[in-house]
C-alpha cells in the first residue's frame, strides 16, 4: 500500500484495474486506493505479471503488501508474501504497493533470521553497542553471525567476528572545533566583465534554455512524486507545478558568481543554477551520492553553484540573504544576492527586517516573491486582508523599488528579473519583484488541493507557462513541434535516468550517522 502523505492509517482498496495473472508494465496505473483525504492511483513499479493479495474493499496500512509482480504469473502467485491484515505481519514496513521481481526469489536459507525486505534488500538489526563497535572497526554488520534474540547482532557477535579479523581503524578522538590558523586577506573587487545580454525575444538560444529549464523542473517534480507514490522515496515533494517560469526566468538572469537563496518549492532554482541532476536526485533519494550525502534531503545547499541552501523554516533565508549581500558589499564585489520565497514565507516577520536592513544599508539584494495564491493548506484570504493588492508593495514603505508582473510569462519574468539584478548590481540598493502565478498542485505530494476553487485551478491550467511558451516558440519558428516534443522527452529521460541511477546507489549505512561529524562541525 503506498504512503499517502503523513497518514499511517488504514486505506481502502477501492478498485483493481487489473486482475491476477495480467501482464503489467512499469508506471501502469493498476489500482485506486482511498484514504481519509483522497483517492490515489497505484502504479506498477516494474514490468511483469501480477498476483493480487488484497481484494477490493479490503483495508491495508501504508507499506502493507497488496500485490506481487514477478517475471511469470506462476512466480508471482508463489512468491512469498504475507496476507494483508494478518497480525504480526512479516511484510516489511516500507514495501510499496507492489514488489519487484526480486521477491520471487526465496530468501536464502536464513540462518540469521534477517529481516528481508521484499525488494531483496536486507535490514540488519543490531544493538547500539554492536553498531558502534562494528563502525569503529569497519565491520559490515551483514557479515556478522547474529545470536541475539530475533536475529539481533549483539556486541559479543561483533567481538566474535573481530577475533577472526585484523584490527580495524582506531576510533576517532573527540572532535574539537576547527580553527582558522591564518586569516586570508579579504578578497577585493573583481572587474569581471559581464556578458552583453539581448532581450529574450531576440535570443533563440536563451529561449530554448528557458523552455528546457521549465521542462526539467516539471519533469523532476513529476518523477519525484512518482517515486514517492511507489514508496521508493522518503523525501517529500513540494511541487512547483504551474510555477516553473519563475525558477527558469530568475536563474537565467543571474551570473554564475551571484548568490541565490532558493525556494523550497520545486527544484527549478537549483537546476537553473547548474546543480547536477544526478546529485540532486540522489539526495532526494537519500543516497550517499547525493549532493549533501543523503543527510540534507530537501534542505539542499550547493556551494559550487552559489546556491546557498534552503532552510526547512520558511522565511529564515531572508535575513541570511541580507547578510550575504552585506558581505558582498563589504568586500566591494560586483555580485548580487537573490532570495526567492513564496508569499507565505514573505508574510513572516523576517521579511520586514530584511527589507528594512537592506534599505538602511543599501544592499545588493533582489527579493523574489512568487505569489501563487495559496499558502500551505489555505487560500490567500486566510493570510491577507481582502483589499490587499499583492504583497510586494509592502516594499514601498522601505523605499524599495518593486514591481508585480505575470509570473507565468517566462520571458517577462526573465526580463524583469534581469532589470532587478542589474539595478541591485549598480549599487542602488535592494529591489523586490513579485511574480503572480498559481500553484495548481498540492502543498506536498499527497495534498489533494481541496481548499481552492476548482475553477481557479482550471483557469490557471489554461495559463500553463510551458505550453503557453511552446506555442510562442513554434509561432516564432524558434522550435518546431518535433523539437518541442524532443525537448520534453529529453527532460523526462534525464530525470528517469537520474532516479534509476539513484535507486542503484547505496543507501548510507546506519553507522554513517556517527561519521563525518567533526568535518561537519558537530560537537
Amino acid at each position: 500500500m503506498p504512503k499517502v502523505g503523513m497518514s499511517t492509517s488504514e486505506m481502502v482498496l477501492q478498485e483493481w484495474l487489473v486482475t491476477s495473472g495480467d501482464a503489467v508494465v512499469e508506471d501502469q496505473v493498476i489500482a485506486m486506493v482511498e484514504s481519509e483525504k483522497t483517492v490515489v492511483e497505484v502504479e506498477a513499479v516494474c514490468d511483469g505479471f501480477i498476483d493480487i493479495r488484497l481484494d477490493e474493499g479490503g483495508e491495508a496500512v501504508p507499506g502493507e503488501l497488496i500485490a506481487v509482480i514477478a517475471e511469470s504469473a506462476e512466480a508471482a502467485r508463489d512468491a512469498r508474501g504475507t496476507a494483508p491484515g494478518s497480525a504480526g505481519s512479516a511484510a516489511p514496513a516500507r514495501v510499496p504497493a507492489t514488489v519487484s521481481t526480486a521477491v520471487a526469489a526465496e530468501p536464502d536459507a536464513v540462518s540469521k533470521e534477517r529481516v528481508v525486505m521484499l525488494d531483496g534488500s536486507q535490514r540488519v538489526v543490531a544493538t547500539p553497542a554492536a553498531q558502534r563497535l562494528a563502525e569503529q572497526h569497519g565491520i559490515d554488520l551483514s557479515d556478522v553471525d547474529a545470536t541475539g534474540p530475533k536475529g539481533r547482532v549483539t556486541k559479543a557477535d561483533v567481538e566474535q567476528a573481530l577475533a577472526g579479523a585484523a584490527a580495524g581503524p582506531a576510533p576517532a578522538p573527540d572532535s574539537l572545533p576547527t580553527v582558522d590558523e591564518a586569516p586570508e586577506p579579504m578578497s577585493r573587487p573583481e572587474s569581471r566583465p559581464r556578458p552583453e545580454r539581448l532581450p529574450a525575444s531576440n535570443d533563440p538560444g536563451l529561449q530554448r534554455t528557458l523552455h528546457r529549464e521549465m521542462l526539467r523542473a516539471r519533469a523532476l517534480d513529476e518523477g519525484h512524486m512518482r517515486l514517492i507514490r511507489r514508496g521508493r522515496c522518503e523525501s517529500m515533494s513540494h511541487p512547483a507545478t504551474g510555477q516553473e517560469a519563475i525558477s527558469a526566468g530568475i536563474t537565467a538572469a543571474l551570473e554564475p558568481d551571484d548568490i541565490l537563496y532558493p525556494t523550497f518549492r520545486g527544484f527549478g532554482d537549483y537546476l537553473g543554477r547548474g546543480t547536477d541532476m544526478n546529485a540532486l536526485v540522489a539526495e532526494l533519494m537519500g543516497r550517499q551520492t547525493g549532493i549533501n550525502r543523503g543527510v540534507g534531503g530537501i534542505h539542499l545547499g550547493d556551494r559550487e553553484h552559489n546556491t546557498h541552501g534552503v532552510s526547512g523554516v520558511l522565511g529564515a533565508n531572508l535575513t541570511m540573504a541580507a547578510g550575504s549581500a552585506q558581505a558582498v558589499k563589504m568586500r566591494g564585489q560586483a555580485r548580487v544576492v537573490m532570495v526567492h520565497v513564496g508569499e507565505g514565507a514573505f508574510n513572516t516577520p523576517d521579511s520586514h527586517a530584511t527589507m528594512n536592513m537592506a534599505a538602511i544599508w543599501g544592499l545588493p539584494l533582489v527579493i523574489i516573491v512568487a505569489n501563487n495564491q495559496v499558502v500551505e493548506f489555505s487560500y490567500h484570504d486566510v493570510h491577507f486582508p481582502p483589499d490587499a493588492e499583492g504583497v510586494g508593495s509592502r516594499a514601498g514603505y522601505y523605499g524599495i523599488p518593486n514591481e508585480c508582473v505575470d509570473g507565468n510569462d517566462v520571458e517577462l519574468v526573465y526580463g524583469e528579473a534581469l532589470e532587478a539584478v542589474e539595478a541591485a548590481r549598480s549599487g542602488n540598493g535592494p529591489v523586490l519583484l513579485e511574480l503572480v502565478t498559481c500553484r495548481i498542485a498540492g502543498h506536498f505530494d499527497a495534498d489533494p488541493l481541496t481548499y481552492i476553487d476548482d475553477g481557479l485551478v482550471e483557469e490557471w491550467k489554461g495559463r500553463d507557462p510551458i505550453s503557453r511558451y511552446e506555442a510562442i516558440l513554434i509561432q516564432r519558428g524558434t522550435m518546431d513541434a518535433g523539437a518541442v516534443e524532443a525537448a520534453r522527452a529529453a527532460a523526462r529521460e534525464e530525470v528517469d535516468t537520474a532516479f534509476k541511477r539513484a535507486l542503484e546507489d547505496e543507501l548510507p549505512s546506519a553507522g554513517y550517522v556517527f561519521e563525518n561529524l567533526a568535518e561537519t562541525g558537530v560537537l
Binding site: P177, G309, T319, M320, G323, V337, L523
Partner: protein, 325 residues
C-alpha cells in the same frame, strides 16, 4: 603578564582580532554606544562599516550574520542580554548550528554570538537569566563561559578564529564588578574543551563555570579553614565538555558537586550527574552527587528575592557538607 579587568579583556580580544583579520566585524543593537561598554570606542577605531548598529530584531541580526559568515566573513554578533537569545533561537539552533552538517561540510559558519548573561542586579525576569541551558542540547554549537579575564580574552579570540559558530556568554557581574586579574601578554588563546583546575583539593570535586567559579573558590577557602580540601574544576566551555579532567578529579576525591547559575532542571549539573552514574564513572563515587543551581522558577525582580534564588558560596558549602556527611 598584566592585570586586566574582565570587560577590558573582552574588548582587547575584539580589537586584536579585528586588527588581525579584516573579515572580522561586529554587529548588534547599539554596540557603538554599547550597553555595558564592551564595544565602546571600536566604531571610532574601525569605522561604522565594521561596527554595525542594527535595528532591534535578534533573529534577524543573527540571520544576517549567518549569511555573511556563509560568504566567508567572520561576524561577531552581540545579543544585548542572553535572555534575548531566545528571540533568535530559530537562527541559532535551526540554522547557524546545523548548516554545516546539513550541507555536509560544504559551508562553514564562522560566527560568534556574544551575550552578556546572568543575574545579580535585580534586573528582573527578562534581563537576568542564564540561558546557556536552553542551548546546551544543540548539536554543532560550542558554548564558552569564561570566568576570568584571561579566559575572557583567550576564549573569545579562539571563538573568533573558530570555523564553527560559538555561543559566548559573558557574565554581567564579572563585567560590572570590575573583576580583574592577570592576563598573559601577546596573542593569548585558550583552547576549547580544556577544563582548568582552579584550586587543587582532595576531599570533594566542585565543578563550576562562569560567575559561579568565584563562589566555588570562596566556598573552598571557607571550607579549608574547617579542614575540608575542595578541588574546583572550571570546564570553561560546556560544549565541548572536558569530562576527562572532571572525572579524573572525581577519581581522586570520590565526591562530586556541581554549581551552576542556570536552573537545576536539565542543566550541566544534570548532565554531569548522569555521566557520573554511568559506566565506569559509577564506581568512582563514595557519596551521592549534589547539585547547586537556581530553582525552576522565573528570576524574581527584587534583590532580596533574587539573592535567595541565585546559587552562591553558602548554598555550595551546605551541599559539600552533605556529601561529606
Amino acid at each position: 603578564m598584566a592585570v586586566v579587568k574582565y570587560m577590558d579583556a573582552l574588548t582587547d580580544a575584539l580589537r586584536e582580532e579585528m586588527q588581525r583579520d579584516d573579515r572580522v566585524f561586529l554587529l548588534g543593537e547599539d554596540i557603538r554606544v554599547s550597553n555595558l561598554g564592551i564595544t565602546a570606542g571600536l566604531a571610532e577605531e574601525f569605522g561604522t562599516e565594521r561596527v554595525v548598529d542594527t535595528p532591534i530584531h535578534e533573529n534577524a541580526l543573527v540571520g544576517v550574520a549567518m549569511g555573511a559568515a556563509l560568504e566567508g566573513m567572520r561576524p561577531v554578533v552581540e545579543i544585548m542580554f542572553s535572555d534575548f537569545a531566545l528571540l533568535a533561537a530559530d537562527q541559532i539552533v535551526n540554522q547557524v548550528a546545523q548548516w554545516r552538517y546539513m550541507t555536509q561540510g560544504q559551508y562553514e559558519v564562522p560566527l560568534v554570538i556574544r551575550m552578556p548573561t546572568g543575574g545579580g542586579f535585580a534586573y528582573g525576569l527578562h534581563h537576568s537569566q542564564s540561558t546557556e541551558t536552553h542551548f546546551f542540547q544543540t548539536p554543532g554549537l560550542p558554548i564558552a563561559m569564561p570566568s576570568t579575564p584571561a579566559d575572557a580574552k583567550g576564549l573569545l579570540k579562539t571563538a573568533i578564529r573558530s570555523n564553527d559558530p560559538v555561543l559566548f556568554l559573558e557574565h554581567m557581574l564579572l563585567c560590572l564588578q570590575n573583576a580583574e586579574s592577570d592576563v598573559p601578554d601577546g596573542d593569548h588563546l585558550v583552547p576549547f574543551g580544556e577544563a582548568a583546575v582552579r584550586r587543587e583539593g582532595s576531599d570533594v570535586t566542585v565543578v563550576a563555570f562562569g560567575a559561579m567559579v568565584n563562589q566555588a573558590l570562596i566556598a573552598a577557602e571557607t571550607l579549608a579553614e574547617q579542614g575540608v580540601s575542595v578541588e574546583v574544576v572550571d570546564p570553561r566551555t560546556i560544549v565541548p565538555l572536558d569530562a576527562e579532567t572532571i572525572f579524573a578529579s572525581v577519581a581522586k576525591t570520590n565526591r562530586l558537586v556541581i554549581i551552576e547559575e542556570s536552573r537545576i532542571r536539565g542543566g550541566l549539573g544534570a548532565e554531569l550527574a548522569a555521566q557520573a552514574a554511568a559506566g565506569d564513572n559509577f564506581f568512582l563515587l563514595d557519596a551521592p552527587i549534589e547539585r547547586v543551581a537556581a530553582p525552576n522558577i522565573p528570576v524574581p525582580s527584587t534583590s532580596q528575592l533574587e539573592q535567595a534564588y541565585l546559587p552562591d558560596a553558602g548554598k555550595l558549602i551546605a551541599a559539600i557538607h552533605r556529601t561529606l556527611a
